[in-house]
């Protein structure tokens, strides 16, 4: 595999898997929380929150990447704070690529989970609270199990989006081979050099395979979960 893809290609695949994994994992709890608030709560400014969440979906990715650089760059306010307190540097590191991918995947994940929460009968949650469950237990024992298929779908969507993220990533962390060169930027890079088409094509095949595998896996799991939830 390493020989077939070449050192640079292989590194790009591993990096993209790592970046996408962390991007999905970190986004998920926030996506669930935001989706719950948007689905179940009424408050002034709800549309504003909704708009901000969806911003990365409609802005040009390059703009999102540039905004990330302005906020999380080493000399930017939050970026320098993170570096001083946690020693965490995002700009031009793989961690930054994960943040960029997470931000870009976030709206898709929120949408998928919100649809799932909307589909849960609030009457079931009422029933749980009449039986003595405080709100957080209602969520963990009723809402959360019932939206598991939606969460899985959202994780796969988020993972796929993170695997394919290009514009914001390359703007925020560039494409340094072995450090921040993800799968899409490696494909782009190979296409820029004469004779790189074969390498690019091989990486394309890997992308398709990873995406299909993730999709099939989530289908399998969510079908099993859905059967359990349908109360059969």
């Amino acid at each position: 595999m390493i020989a077939w893809l070449g050192e640079e290609g292989w590194q790009a695949v591993l990096l993209s898997l790592k970046v996408s994994f962390w991007a999905t994992l970190i986004s998920l709890p926030f996506a669930i929380a935001i989706a719950w608030v948007l689905s179940r709560k009424e408050f002034s400014g709800k549309q504003l929150v909704n708009g901000i969440v969806h911003l990365p979906l409609i802005l040009p990715p390059v703009v999102t990447g540039y905004m990330l650089l302005m906020v999380f760059g080493r000399r930017a306010p939050i970026g320098s704070f993170l570096e001083d307190t946690l020693g965490l540097v995002l700009a031009f590191r793989w961690t930054g690529a994960a943040v960029a991918a997470a931000v870009m995947a976030f709206p898709l994940m929120v949408r998928a989970i919100r649809l799932a929460i909307d589909a849960v009968d609030p009457g079931l949650e009422d029933a749980a609270s009449t039986l003595g469950a405080p709100r957080w237990r209602v969520f963990s024992t009723v809402t959360l199990p019932l939206i598991t298929p939606g969460i899985l779908t959202s994780a796969v969507l988020g993972f796929a989006k993170a695997m394919g993220e290009f514009g914001a990533t390359i703007t925020f962390v560039s494409a340094i081979p072995g450090r921040t060169q993800t799968l899409p930027s490696a494909i782009y890079g190979f296409l820029q050099v004469p004779g790189g088409e074969t390498q690019a094509l091989r990486l394309v095949i890997v992308s398709v395979a990873v995406a299909m595998a993730a999709l099939l896996l989530s289908e399998l799991i969510s079908r099993r979960v859905a059967r359990r939830i349908a109360g059969q």
């Binding site: 029933a127 749980a128 609270s129 009449t130 039986l131 405080p134 109360g231």
Partner: protein, 362 residues
Amino acid sequence: MTLSVSLRHTLDRFELDVTFNAPDGVTALFGRSGAGKTTVVNAVAGLMQPTKGRISVGDRVLFDSSKRISLPVHKRHLGYVFQDARLFPHMTVAQNLAYGAKVQRTKRDVAHEKRIIEMLGIGDLLSRRPGRLSGGEKQRVAIGRALLAAPELLLLDEPLAALDEARKAEILPFLERLRDHSGIPILYVSHSIAEVARLATTVVALHNGRVAQVGPTASVLSDPDSVPALGVREAGAVIRGKLVAHHDDGLSELQTCGGALFLPRVKGVEIDQVIRVRIRAHDVILSRTAPEGLSALNILHGRIVSLREGQGPGVMVRIACRDEHILARITRRSAQAMSLSEGDMIHAIVKSVSVAQGDVGG
């Protein structure tokens, strides 16, 4: 323990202004759809915040707008059985039943659980999921789930409305047992007089967001003043009858205040047991003399205590026999022809088969 409710709530153009007490036993919250029944129950449960009012169970205050008290739903210690059961679809029946104890972190009382599971006849369903239960089974599990949460107050919001007659007949006996053995106030929402007549100890009749009548079941149902709230077609009094015999021809004989009453075989009732029978006002014929040569078997004897004319051509006649009452709805023309007046002795004739099975019960 007594549930005391006093609340005011305005929603759009609908105004609710309700005050009543629900003692131990079943208090039926009765009225047509849109009368505000479910709103009252949801306010007691805490699922809805009334504009003003006070709700308490015994000396425990659940809601008091003047003191800004409003206990959250999960601290009100209730059992709420919804019209649509609302079982958790991802849990088995056993897990549904155990849910209250689990979230309240109380120790499970296995003997108590067993008794309730047995009473509701759901022992064979424990490992099943709600998707594989019939409507009647779901509703029994929902009742069990509410009871096992150790409630101090039970709310039943039309638990039988979504079921067909056969399923209703399957569940009503459980509700009767619940009323006689649970020892907590039960608030029972219904728009069916048959259910109310059979189950309720107290009736609160709601009409357009206000309490139209409140009192013991027999007196509310036999009061001509409740007729507008109940609906004239459904009006009818409840009398008690002691079962004397099951006859071979398929009839059961009851001893009532006005004489013998023969009904189609009353199932599940033993000799000497006292049951309630609802006799609909429009099924009663009146006669001044004891009639002969009539196919109707039941001729009850009593004294007219009131005649009340409605808006239509009908007159509601209230007949007393000992301490009970029968209602008869006849035309104004008949009342004049017979020159009926208060204090007259009268015979009330009831056709046996007109008393439906749903109107008879413990």
